[in-house]
Amino acid sequence: MQLLTAWAIGLIFGLGILISGMANPAKVLNFFDVAGTWDPSLAFVMGGALVTTFIGYRLVFRRALPVLDRKFHLPAARAIDARLVGGSALFGIGWGISGFCPGGALPALGTGAPEVFAFVAALIAGMILARFLQTPRSGQPKPA
């Protein structure tokens, strides 16, 4: 049951990403290219996703528990530190180079385009590298 619901939710997310244009790096880069071939579409993606989630979460959190789990797994980290800002700044540079982000690339894998596999392989390598660099210091917040 857990696997079926997770699969279906992944499919809804994937379709949302594909329909919205988030899986198309050219469209993502054009959102940021205000001085050039600007395409403001992604503001609508963010707006639609944010408003829906904002309302949805408020309804969900009226419940004491999720349907198929014993608790809500919410991030415990509170600190606004150099790790958060530096990591995010780095993330934006990478995102601005290719136009791919993790949520855009994963559904795009299903198109079979070899460039997406190359990006995701490098993405995974980067995540493993970060984990490796972080291990000596324990108690790090895990990504949401």
């Binding site: 880069l29 934006g92 198109t111 980067g126 917040p141």
Partner: protein
Amino acid sequence: MVAWQIEKDRIMIETTFTPWASLGGGILIGLAATLLMLVHGRIMGATGILAGLVMPAGRRDFAWRAALVAGMVCGPLVYLALTRAMPAVQVTVPLPLLLLSGLIVGVGASYGGGCPSGHGVCGIARLSPRSIIATLTFMATALSTVYLVRHVIGA
């Protein structure tokens, strides 16, 4: 000059403004985020989900993540069945830059604790100060990077 012109045409592809499709897609993303919290009690953050898949904490934890990502990867086939066309994935950078980008995104999202789906959508929807700061930061550096690549280096 001519060679550069060709290269620039490849880098700067015009894309069509699609407010309705983007809004509809965004609502689906929000619906998926809501459902994942409702059913599984989890944040719909692509970075966190992938990290737990690549470096699993246990078999049960691995299974739902694998199913979720499998659902995402089925997206293009369902999209094809619904619209009779594959979704556009237009890559405008050469392979070395694409790999560099993936590596930077992986390291940055790990240190920053999330990406546009985790921080930008789920985190801001929870009014998390961390997520608001993270989102403003990566939007600003992405904007600067695109400006630098397209209008300063490539000017």
